[in-house]
């Protein structure tokens, strides 16, 4: 009897080993394009924008205003006729901040017919980088780490990478410091969470870049536990190096822990704070209060709107403010996260709209959208910000330097072009894509 089991199991194993050859390894079918001679171009019933976001977990405080903003945007655009009369719809998938869930949720999205034009992934898109290439689905993302966009793939970032943004800050700091303190170097300490974004801000390439600035000296590079609720001892440690500026990624609950601990340890106001991207957002303000962030500077591509009742700086911001009020969101959502969420999907929809214009409805597919993404050099985002990538890069190279003042983040510079701080190995022209595990010829 026992040997029977062995024989049956062996047969099944053999069968199972042969099935991949039949099922898994069958070459992909060539796509057949619709005849172009059809006089009436058939438009789709709707355009679905798929978004796989960290809607729960440690980043959710920042994500939920984004969700609200994009729904408001879609509602508004649909009231104006959508894209050429075709309505838009958002479809949400939650990752819970878990990569396994991200992968299974993406597997569901990629199976949908018609094939998604683009998929939004809030963070950790790098876990799917190879899959986006294989499936030929462009991914749009908002939190852009180096590993997401290098080597360049089908992941496209609404903002710059953390090293690019950090070096934009370095440029600004160097120029400002030269004006105010020409006699001595600025003592800069990197102090960020011990996760990939924290390390990305102080990458070896960033350190190399800082060496080109004679008036900036890095005096410390320290990391803290992303989930820690109190950072007093970490702050004491980094403050021993007597920095003029603390720079890091003060995000969501870890950002709140940072600002609270800075105040508790008596260093608030004694050291200047700069933070990349999300560290000046409404979610942090809600947790620690406006005063804690007063005077914080940092590079970002989106300002926030002014408090309720105040006149906004431009028409785009005025509209966003109106949409916020019309949709009765909690006041805690009022801030940069809502605006950046709005502009994030304004960018995605803008690219789809451009793809429709450039390729037509009959040729609108994920490849057309991808090509539109990577060939867009300068796109106006509602008069508030701009988006554009360069040849060979897949992320925004434009941002402002921002300052948190009286409850809002305001641009203190015009639109800046970030320096290209790509990883050293991608600076060589002949990077061996195939050896790195990427399909041959995918990047030209």
């Amino acid at each position: 009897m026992k040997s029977k089991i062995h024989i049956i199991l062996a047969c099944l194993m053999l069968m199972a080993l042969l099935i991949p050859v039949i099922v898994g390894c069958t070459p992909a079918k060539e796509s057949i394009s619709a005849p172009t001679t059809t006089p009436e171009v058939k438009k789709p019933k709707e355009i679905v924008i798929y978004a796989i976001h960290d809607m729960s977990g440690p980043m959710s405080v920042s994500t939920m205003p984004t969700v609200a903003a994009s729904e408001d945007l879609v509602k508004y655009l649909n009231s104006k006729g959508g894209i050429d009369g075709v309505p838009l719809r958002m479809e949400w998938h939650d990752t819970r901040g878990d990569k396994a869930v991200l992968i299974t949720e993406y597997a569901k999205v990629r199976e949908i017919t018609p094939k998604p034009l683009t998929v939004g992934v809030y963070s950790s898109a790098d876990a799917l980088a190879a899959r986006f290439v294989e499936d030929q689905i462009p991914c749009n993302t908002t939190s852009v780490s180096t590993s997401m966009v290098w080597p360049p793939s089908w992941i496209i970032g609404v903002s710059g990478t953390y090293p690019d943004l950090t070096c934009t800050f370095i440029d600004w700091l160097s120029a400002e410091w030269a004006k105010t303190n020409p006699d001595r170097k600025c003592r800069l300490a990197f102090f960020g969470p011990d996760i990939y974004v924290g390390h990305d801000c102080a990458s070896p390439e960033v350190m190399e870049y800082i060496k080109t600035k004679p008036n900036i000296e890095v005096v410390a590079t320290e990391y803290f536990d992303f989930r820690a609720l109190d950072l007093s001892s970490d702050i004491l440690r980094v403050m021993q190096s007597n920095p003029d500026y603390l720079y890091g990624f003060y995000f969501a609950s870890s950002g709140a822990a940072f600002y609270k601990s800075l105040k508790a340890s008596g260093f608030q106001g004694k050291v200047k704070v700069a933070t990349v991207l999300w560290g000046m957002q409404s979610d942090i303000v809600n947790l620690v209060g406006k005063e804690a962030l007063e005077g914080v500077v940092g590079p970002f591509h989106v300002p926030s709107f002014k408090p309720k009742g105040q006149k906004q700086d431009n028409e785009g911001m005025e509209l966003i403010s109106q949409l916020f009020d019309q949709n009765n969101h909690p006041e805690t959502y009022r801030g940069g996260s809502y605006v950046s969420g709005m502009l994030y999907y304004y960018w995605v929809i803008g690219i789809i709209q451009k793809a429709v214009k450039d390729y037509g409805w009959d040729k609108l597919d994920s490849v057309a959208v991808y090509k539109t993404f990577i060939n867009t050099r300068d796109l106006d985002l509602g008069g508030i910000s701009r988006w554009g990538c360069t040849e060979g890069t897949r992320y925004n190279n434009k941002c402002f330097m921002m300052k948190y003042e009286n409850g809002v983040t305001i641009p203190i510079t015009g639109t800046l072009t970030s320096p290209d701080i790509r990883p050293a190995k991608f600076r060589t022209a002949e990077y061996n894509w195939k050896a790195a595990g990427w399909p041959e010829g995918y990047f030209k």
Partner: protein
């Protein structure tokens, strides 16, 4: 006789060792295996992908089941052991160009050795104290992968993992991964079932029931406790190596304590000490999770909640409630309930 309504009496030692006893069981087994291995022909890629995740989780939980269910040793570090397997396999494939088929057993072996080291405190401490020592491993191991030898591990930033090749054909589709993972699940289950009936398995159970009595009977506690940790970690190593190929991107944060707790929860819901319970616990919780995601948007509309607000809340809520209900009403898990159902079916119409 076919359905064993009145009992089945073994007449030889060989019969004692039979796993599949009746023709009905044979039909079900063969049917289930045929259904399983032909699934890629008629199931969508997204379902296969969930099945792939379930398969990897089952392998990890099978290891935990051997350690906790058979041998009675506590562990809350299974996710960290998976990290060892995942990184070992990924580094071997990526940095040394070794085939995944060689890297897989090597990763399992390395993880097994790490498991022995982590299991050493089991010789001195038991229960929650032992759990604390495995918790230490759960904290230390991912930290090491995030901070030590970063040029190889990729540190916090993570590393890409090249896809598996089968005679130069990359196995990247959900279907091919499904077959690979589920072959290993079947083999792992077969080994686990047989282990229980072996000398080693009986020694494990003796230690679980009363370690002092087991020692008095001549069972070496050191040998068998460490062996249990070795086998548990071996499974975790295999699960980790498969995980690395399934995700094709590794970061230390993937192997967090939440996953270890989840594995433990699956084992509790399924029933400690039962192979069938491992499958029941893992599959039911994963299906429940998917159902929660499926009904969440509709539920949100029904309750008039803004889009995207119910979905994040409902799945963790359901998971918590299920664990709570099982701990209160059926602490011996689904497997026990299934055994009771079978027993009542056999005895029907009599009550005993």
């Amino acid at each position: 006789m076919v359905n064993r309504p009145c009992g089945f009496f073994n007449e030889s030692y060989a019969q004692e060792f039979i796993i599949v006893r009746t023709p009905t069981q044979w039909v079900f087994l063969i049917g289930a295996l045929v259904f399983l291995f032909t699934m890629p022909l008629y199931v969508s890629g997204s379902i296969l992908n969930i099945a792939n995740y379930a398969g990897i989780v089952i392998i990890a939980v099978l290891g935990l089941h051997i350690l906790m269910g058979y041998c009675g040793q506590m562990s809350i570090g299974q996710s960290a052991f998976m990290a060892v397997g995942a990184y070992t396999s990924a580094i071997l494939v990526r940095e040394l160009g070794i085939s995944f088929w060689v890297a897989l057993p090597f990763a399992a072996l390395v993880t097994g050795i790490v498991g022995i080291i982590v299991g050493l405190p089991s010789l001195r401490v038991k229960g929650f104290y032992l759990m604390m020592s495995t918790l230490a491993a759960q904290i230390i191991i991912p930290w090491i992968f995030g901070h030590a030898w970063q040029e190889v591990t990729g540190g916090i930033m993570g590393i890409d993992v090249p896809s598996i090749k089968f005679f130069d054909i990359p196995l990247t589709s959900p279907a091919s991964m499904f077959l690979l993972i589920w072959i290993i699940v079947v083999l792992g289950t077969y080994f686990s079932i047989n282990l229980r009936r072996s000398h080693t398995g009986r020694a494990f159970i003796a230690i679980r029931d009363n370690d002092l009595a087991a020692e008095l009977m001549g069972i070496s506690l050191m040998r068998y406790k460490l062996l249990a940790f070795f086998i548990c970690s071996l499974y975790a190593g295999v699960a980790g190596a498969l995980w690395s190929e399934w995700t094709r991107f590794l970061t230390p944060e993937q192997f967090n304590i939440s996953n270890s707790v989840l594995f433990l929860g699956m084992l509790i819901v399924g029933g400690l000490g039962s192979n069938a319970g491992v499958f029941m616990g893992c599959i039911s919780l994963i299906i429940l999770d998917e159902l929660a995601k499926f009904i969440a948007p509709g539920l949100g509309n029904l309750l008039g909640m803004p889009p995207g607000t119910v979905a994040p809340a409902i799945a963790p809520f359901v998971f918590g409630i299920v664990i709570l209900l099982f701990l209160i009403f059926e602490p011996r898990g689904m497997a026990h309930r299934w055994e009771q159902f079978k027993l009542s079916y056999r005895l029907n119409p009599f009550s005993y």
